[in-house]
Symmetry: C2
Subunit: 395 residues, 2 copies
């Protein structure tokens, strides 16, 4: 069965076509700069590797272009549009409505729309992708997989903010958490690897956005991102946690506008603000050349991850494994090393040689005597979306 996974952003559309249950990728690509005359289109399959620049003004035009290449007589991968049985959509915000993957109907679309005020940059774009897919693949089942769903098991004492109750009950302000699809995927991989579902694990997703989840017996119980993806760890361009009074000070004492402060914390902070670079590879290189800001930023980044490991091990009241994933987590032996340094009190000790080996598969990097397993698990959100989408119609 062929399953198309779509991730529709405000000006981009990413896609991957899977053969399921084989879990093989048939083709994948992206349309970027939708709305512009110099939009970029990339498409890669076994027999074809296209990169073009062309005018693509709408998401509909973008998906039509994708479909045209999928169905191309000579080099395409599908005979008819009906070959796609399921389209799985990544939806960022499921609010309190969705704690699992659902088939999309009118009610689901209305709920996704109603959650736009909680995710103004993402949900409208996700919804646009759904509506476009419905017209172009009308015979396929449309499925929504929410970034927040896996985190809906977090208990109230952990998701509620200490502000008056009506902000939760009336305005739905609470911790939602994000990257749920990735945390779910890598935690399940980890549990399979450990040979148990009864586990206490901490998943550490370090990409451009970074987040951590405490997971007990397969269910999330706490998470580092909050109401938005701004909170928690230090990220590529986001500050992560910061004393909220800094915002008042920036406004009242330093004269910044709220718009400026929002942009500052989301786009100019984090590793970029500390070092001038947002790509960790650049920062590691500069640090190795002696750049003090880069060295400190790496220390700060790892320090904050350590603190969350301690918090989560404590509320789990035990720890079987920590799991590194995503661009940085999978590839940066340096960050993993800094994070795991001096954690023997928690029973975490790294094997430096194993840590330095590069690999694309799931692996342990702890020392033989480490009580806690340290795993590196490549994440695959698209595959997880495909799997969850399929499982809706099989189980």
């Amino acid at each position: 069965m062929q399953v198309l996974v779509l991730n529709s952003g405000s000006s981009s559309l990413k896609f991957q076509l899977f053969a399921m249950p084989e879990e093989t990728i048939i083709c994948a690509g992206v349309v970027e700069r939708i709305g512009f005359t110099d939009a970029k289109f990339k498409f890669k399959s076994e027999h074809k590797n296209v990169e073009t620049e062309t005018k693509i003004l709408t998401h509909k035009a973008a998906l039509k272009l994708v479909a045209k290449h999928l169905l191309d007589k000579k080099e395409g991968v599908l005979k008819t549009a009906e070959d796609i049985k399921i389209v799985g959509h990544r939806v960022v915000h499921g609010g309190m409505h969705f704690n699992d993957t659902v088939e999309i109907d009118q009610d689901v679309k209305e709920k996704i729309k109603s959650l736009s005020s909680l995710a103004p940059l993402h949900n409208p774009a996700n919804l646009e992708g759904i509506m476009v897919a419905e017209t172009i693949f009308p015979t396929a089942k449309q499925v929504a997989v929410f970034d927040t769903a896996f985190l809906q098991s977090i208990p109230e004492k952990a998701y509620k903010f200490a502000i008056p109750n009506e902000f939760l009950t009336e305005h739905h302000i609470r911790v939602y958490g994000f990257h749920g699809t990735s945390h779910k995927y890598v935690s399940e991989q980890a549990n399979k690897f450990l040979g148990t579902k009864e586990s206490k694990i901490i998943t550490i997703h370090l990409g451009n956005g970074c987040s951590m989840t405490a997971i007990k017996n397969g269910k999330s119980i706490d998470h580092s991102m909050g109401f938005s993806p701004l909170d928690g760890l230090i990220m590529g361009t986001r500050s992560g946690a910061i004393d909220p009074s800094v915002i008042f000070h920036l406004k009242d004492a330093l004269g910044y506008s709220m718009k400026q402060i929002n942009a500052l914390l989301n786009k100019e902070s984090g590793m970029l603000g500390l070092t001038g670079y947002s790509d960790l590879r650049d920062i590691e290189l500069k640090a190795s050349e002696g750049d003090k800001n880069c060295q400190l930023a790496l220390q700060m980044n790892a320090y904050r991850i350590k603190k969350y490991i301690g918090s989560y091990a404590t509320i789990l009241n035990g720890l079987d494994a920590i799991v590194f994933t995503a661009g940085i987590g999978e590839n940066s032996s340096l960050i993993r090393n800094l994070v795991c340094e001096d954690l023997d009190f928690l029973g975490i000790t790294l094997d430096e040689n194993k840590n330095n080996l590069r690999s694309k598969t799931i692996r342990t990097i702890n020392s033989d005597t480490s009580k806690v397993k340290i795993l590196v698990v490549p994440t695959n959100e698209e595959l997880e979306i495909a799997k969850q989408s399929v499982s809706l119609f099989i189980n």
Copy 2:
């Protein structure tokens, strides 16, 4: 030697007169509602217990009234104003200038003033107290003891926010921490009790304001309050840590003004926002009567403390003792119980009987098998200010 300790707030002036080095209190009291015609004056010594309401318009008038009672021929405790050798002032914000107690000179006063933008409610009032004391006790040494000083040993990776560097270098935005005098005092008491200075301890100050400090070998290495006393734990009326994007949402989506949001987070949140009560005694009572909001708020409060214990044990990479102090920490066996529940992974187990005993002295409440000591240490910021002030001239 007689040492007067002053804590001058925007509309109040608290005082205690100590005989040092005996550490006995000769008299103590407070002037409240300074600036009003119905200001309140309380004064208590061995022979005198005054409570009056009168017009007191300035801090100078307030301190004059205090001096008058101190020097009263019949019921006073001093012969002449010169009997007071040292006046120790509590100063909230010492910024990056002060990592220790100092004798006050013109330069110190200017620095305290220059830090007003970081503590607009406190530093100007503290400075006013200093200037008034200089005129009324001109022969006494004037000493400043900073709330922030003990926390200046926190390393950069812990005190720096992940925002562009110039906000630290030019605008001094960073973690300062507060309650330092209390954390220092109780940690020293704890170390004496443990018979060592080489210790890894976590001090938990739970009063109307709440904060925690990680202390290694007598030096603070991390702290839960941030740039202001708003961050970190859930407090009587303050939210503690909250995703900063909530502020943008309150403003942009819900139409609150920044002033309203500031008041909301500082004065209407925390335990008050969650339960309608800010005094923990009321909340404990209601919870015991079945009030669900109160039960949840207690759980949330303890849960957040647990998470900091885990963080700090991790960055200390070991833990000898946790120390409860201040109104709630010293008196609420319920909160201590909730905090210590299910912490055996960290080696923390409570003795419930010991925990339930009431006492005004330093004591352990851990089980005999607990690897980590759990201490209750009554705090005494005024005595600490007196001791530090004296030590300036003796060591």
